[in-house]
Amino acid sequence: MRVLVTKLAPYAVFVGVLLLVPAVFTRVPFFTMANAVQMGILAIATLGLVLLAGFAGQISIGQAAFYGIGAYSSAILTTRAGMPPLGGVVVGAVLCGLAAYLVGSFIFRVRGHYLALATLAFGLMLGNIARQLEITGGASGIVDIPQLALGPLIITGDLRYYYLVAAVLLVVIVLARNLVNSAFGRSLRALGDSEIAAASSGVDLARHKRVVFVVAAVFASVAGSLYAHWVTFVDYHTLDLLLSIQLLIMATVGGLRTVWGAPVGAFLVLTLSQAAQELLPRLSSNIGGEFEIAVFGLALILVLLFLPSGVAGGVLGLLKRRRRTAPRVPTDAS
């Protein structure tokens, strides 16, 4: 019983937080439900990156590519092939998984910097191609994507969409946590700590890397599909390098070694972005473009230097430490 409660408590708290969001966001003028939806969608994509870059230590700056594959697949399948939206999400995820499997079979020939560069190049190539091809709508993109429907129920409005995204996020977190706490997850962590040590204890490096790469890609794909049906419009900006970097920042700021890092990171970074967009224009009249990345960059550097396990990681570490140093309840014997 005690074990069950300890296991479920984090999920319960998380569900509570998710349920609280609409109540808070609709009352605080700074936030809107659109923010909440965006946080949820990006948290799903970031979760994949946490597994890949955090646990397995494989830095990828190309996740936006898979996000984009999911978004474009949903867009193309629902607008050109008349597929129902849910089908589009599933097919998109499968396509993405296949693509990741394929790429993952040779991209891990390199590691460290080379891997980061390779994922970067991959992401950019895909973005560039998406802009040229006719099937992706070229530079104009694809408009008029139908809204998501669960059977006969069409999901309209940001509030309802948020509940959908929150549900998906919860499912994905449960999956991720189970993965992390399994034997596979332990090998993954070993891989992330030291590839040599892991290899010498018999971990199949290539297989593990490929699997986590596919998982990260699928998560990103689902997030991309959700995005496509929410905004009802995709173009090559969806695959932008900035998105890949944003995901990396969310993962890092939230905490690379904990599943909770994804939602925490997404929340913090998007809040920071909003705040920057309100406050920074007061500093200079020339201001323009995606200037909030100034804050992203600084936040990233600060977190890495002073709080390397991220905010969620730091908080969890704090909790663990308190539990360990907590005085024992005196028993009758002492």
């Binding site: 910097h113 191609i129 530079a139």
Partner: protein, 290 residues
């Protein structure tokens, strides 16, 4: 035929700038082991500062010197604030740190200057030269000359001066270097200063050709990575050759394929080289160092 020659000449001009960027990357990588993802931003800061000052009326030389100075300051800040404190970190963390530095620089530029492009005048005014149907802008000649000068100076510095040799020593073996009183952290700072200088020089000669704005850093940085990787991340001459090659390929591709694909080609080359020949086109692949 003269069209192809034209593509090649233009490609060599932009390629020279890529070569300078690539050189900066190789230098930092050799000495510190990191790939400086902010290298492209050094080019941007140099180019934009120069163009802005030149536009406002400042002469060529003072504008260039100011641009160099400001870029070096940025380079020092990056090294001292982001790299040095994390010296003992894992590679993964360092990668993310330089990415953070890169977007911080770009973001701050966007805040201070905004997105508008700024126009610098060519170093010498005058009509372009036409040789056999090929147009050679006077600025191209400046690009070639300045790049050649920079490369030669760098070579001289690295091989003939004590500090340069010390830097190469630190690149080869940090601990051994320490033993002969060479400070790796000082060398790291020096490497960043040189990288900032090289980037800024590239930006300054490029500015009259391509009006710079806050966003040009990313693309230039990427072409620089490609140049550096093509030449093998540890070879300065390779980076130069790689840069020129990329410039030409890109220019020729733009002439024959829909213009949008030329970037995909550069990235595709990077991708392929990384996977097939991560040590560059010229060397044999080495085994993974344990």
């Amino acid at each position: 035929m003269s069209d192809n020659l034209q593509f090649i000449v233009t490609g060599l001009a932009t390629g020279s700038v890529y070569a300078l960027v690539g050189l900066g990357i190789v230098l930092v990588h050799q000495v510190t082991g990191i790939i400086n993802f902010a290298q492209g931003e050094f080019v941007m800061v140099g180019a934009l500062t120069f163009a802005l000052l030149n536009e406002k009326g400042l002469g060529l030389v003072p504008a260039a010197l100011s641009a160099l100075a400001i870029t070096v300051v940025v380079g020092v800040l990056v090294e001292r604030l982001a790299i040095a404190p994390a010296r003992k970190s894992t590679i993964e963390r360092l990668i993310i740190l330089t990415i953070g530095a890169s977007i911080a620089i770009q973001g701050i530029t966007l805040v201070v200057i905004g997105t508008s492009p700024h126009f610098a005048s060519a170093f010498t005014a005058g009509a372009p030269y036409r040789i056999g149907g090929v147009v050679i802008l006077r600025q191209y000649l400046w690009v070639f000359a300045v790049t050649a000068l920079a490369v030669v100076t760098l070579w001289y510095f690295l091989t003939r001066t004590l500090t340069g040799k010390a830097m190469r020593a630190a690149a080869m073996n940090r601990d051994a270097a320490r033993l002969v009183a060479v400070s790796p952290s000082r060398m790291s700072l020096l490497a960043f200063v040189l990288a900032a200088l090289l980037g800024a020089i590239g930006g300054i000669v490029l500015a009259p050709l391509q009006a710079p704005s806050a966003g040009i850093g990313i693309a230039l940085g990427l072409k620089g990575f490609t140049a550096a990787v093509l030449g093998g991340l540890n070879s300065p001459t390779g980076a130069v050759a790689g840069g020129l090659l990329i410039g030409v390929i890109e220019s020729v591709a733009a002439g024959y394929l829909p213009s949008g694909y030329k970037d995909a080609i550069a990235f595709g080359i990077l991708f392929l080289v990384l996977l097939i020949r991560p040590n560059g086109l010229l060397r044999r692949a080495s085994s993974v160092r344990v």
